[in-house]
């Protein structure tokens, strides 16, 4: 097997896939975002609780491949407790990582997310990894619109 493949499917990714963190639905007064990847049928439902410009909690449910579900699990962990603007910055850092660009690994604790850096070698799978992040961005964007 190629080492690229081992980089793509690292143990920590498989762990998030098999034992997703923050799986579920936030009941009370949360932002709900449904997003599809129309090219492959992956689906995510993300619920975000934002209070005073801060993401208090994030939960997801959905169907998809190991990369999309593991990425969703990692994203919910990473953004929990972050101010919205930091979560959006973190999304940009993640997109840089996916595109194989140099990325800022100092401003935030990237934790498990860095395990996904191997996805950049598989262009067809980048959309799988970014789905949950796009949903998060849309959610906090909605929140800002509502406040305006």
């Amino acid at each position: 097997m190629s080492s690229n493949l081992d980089q793509l499917y690292r143990q920590v990714i498989m762990d998030h896939y098999k034992n997703p963190r923050n799986k579920g639905f936030i009941e009370d007064n949360a932002l709900t975002i449904n997003m599809n990847n129309p090219t492959c049928g992956d689906r995510i439902q993300l619920t975000l609780k934002v209070e005073d410009g801060k993401i208090e909690s994030a939960k997801f449910d959905g169907e998809g491949c190991s990369i999309s579900l593991a990425s969703a699990s990692m994203m919910t962990q990473a953004v929990k407790g972050l101010p919205v603007e930091d979560a959006v910055k973190l999304a940009k850092i993640f997109y840089d990582m996916m595109l194989g660009n140099d990325y800022d690994d100092e401003s935030y604790d990237l934790g498990d997310i860095e395990a996904l850096s191997g996805v950049s070698k598989f262009p067809a799978r980048i959309k799988c990894a970014t789905l949950a992040w796009k949903a998060m961005e849309q959610g906090v964007g909605k929140d800002e619109e509502e406040e305006e």
Partner: protein, 406 residues
């Protein structure tokens, strides 16, 4: 000639992908092109590229002859009565949309029915949804049998005297089901409906005779049958096409243009507004020449052998679900237990094996199968049993790989 010799005529197949010999098992998405087709396109652009049906110069005449010559090849290929019944389109999608927009919008109203099946490709669902929305007609579905086939009793029960259009794919791009088009067309006609056939997955693989099928419209794409992308065909019975209005207006399709009103050319040109897909048609003509040289009966026989072999080998693996009936066209749609089809496809790709993973532009069918996505290996005349052996080896690797990491 055998598959091994046919294969040599496809330059793209002679390469390595990710360090492994390419095994191309995605021909239902698009087929590869033989050297004859590539050279026909090359020759057109190098020697006689010119606009058609206008001007008097020599290149224009050669281009027109090439373009209209391709139309005659298509006519012969599907057994149409006249080249007036052969309209070049961008592909199957545009062909079906032309019928929906021209025939559907003009002839349907509230109380009328359009009948399709849940196995259709999106391109044979959405145009009819749009017709139903605009005209107030009802879109009905013929239920499927548990193995993904159509029972004619269900067709009889679904098609009624209110049905104006029945539209069904001849071969399913997911299940591989070969549908009884001739019998369905007879039921449609008995009820006064027209029969539309999505031939995208049949025309490349089996002899089609539109008169034997007695369908009113038949749509297919060149790129799935060794031809270039961007061109397809709408066949329609002349009596119907004559009564239909064009859907695109502009150059090439007009007879006389006044300040307030215009008139159209005769068939088939009234449906071909704008500079047509000249190179594409010439490429399609070359693809038809190639397929007739190989023999469509040989293509069908060869794919039947491959599909049987693939099913047999797949049944040796544990934890494989195969979708679709036993009797099938040259493709196998499947899932591995506990491994998402995208992950299967990525592991296979790392072994140089190209398969499709996803919903295959058939979301209603995915829902019917109760899955979100599947993987599909599809075969064509250039595939061999060696390809299937490589595919099975790749699947075993995928199973071991994910078995190991979990």
């Amino acid at each position: 000639m055998s598959a091994n010799e046919w294969r040599k005529l496809f330059p793209i197949l002679d390469q390595e992908v990710n360090g492994k010999p390419l095994v191309y098992l995605d021909s239902a998405a698009t087929s590869q092109k033989p050297i004859q087709v590539i050279e026909a396109l090359d020759k057109y652009y190098k020697e006689y590229n010119s606009n058609v049906h206008r001007g008097v110069h020599t290149l224009g005449t050669r281009a027109t002859d090439g373009y209209e010559g391709a139309r005659e090849k298509v006519r012969r290929f599907i057994g149409a009565k006249s080249t007036q019944e052969i309209i070049f389109t961008r592909g199957t999608t545009t062909a079906i949309n032309t019928v929906a927009r021209s025939y559907g919008m003009a002839n349907l109203s509230e109380g009328d029915e359009i009948v399709i099946t849940p196995m259709e490709h999106h391109s044979n669902i959405i145009p009819w949804q749009q017709v139903a929305k605009t005209t107030g007609a009802t879109l009905k579905y013929i239920p499927l049998q548990p193995d993904g086939t159509i029972d004619l009793v269900d067709v009889e029960n679904t098609v009624t005297e209110h049905t104006k259009i029945v539209s069904v794919m001849q071969v399913s791009n997911v299940l591989g089901t070969i549908n009884p088009i001739k019998e369905i067309a007879a039921i449609a006609h008995k009820n006064g409906a027209v029969m539309v056939v999505d031939g995208a997955q049949s025309a490349p693989h089996m002899k089609v005779d539109v008169q034997d099928l007695d369908c009113d419209f038949f749509a297919f794409s060149a790129h799935k049958m060794c031809g270039p992308t961007g061109i397809g065909v709408l066949y329609g019975k002349k009596a119907l096409l004559n009564k239909m209005d064009p859907v695109e207006f502009g150059g090439e399709m007009i007879d006389f243009v006044g300040l307030q009103e215009s008139t159209w050319k005769e068939l088939p040109w009234k449906f071909e507004g704008g500079t047509p897909i000249i190179a594409g048609a010439i490429g399609l003509g070359a693809a038809i020449d190639f397929l007739e040289q190989v023999g469509l009966d040989n293509v069908l026989k060869h794919e039947h052998v491959l599909a049987e072999y693939a099913m047999e080998r797949l049944s040796e693996l544990d934890g494989v679900t195969i979708f679709g009936p036993k009797e099938r066209a040259g493709l196998v749609t499947f899932n591995l237990d506990d491994v998402h089809p995208h992950d299967v496809a990525t592991v296979l790709d790392s072994e140089g094996i190209a398969v499709r993973a996803g919903h295959h532009c058939a979301q209603p069918l995915m829902k019917w199968l109760d899955v979100t996505a599947t993987a599909r290996a599809s075969f064509y005349l250039y595939n061999t049993e060696d390809d299937i052996d490589a595919f099975l080896k790749g699947l075993t690797t995928a199973k071991e790989y994910f078995g190991h990491v979990f």
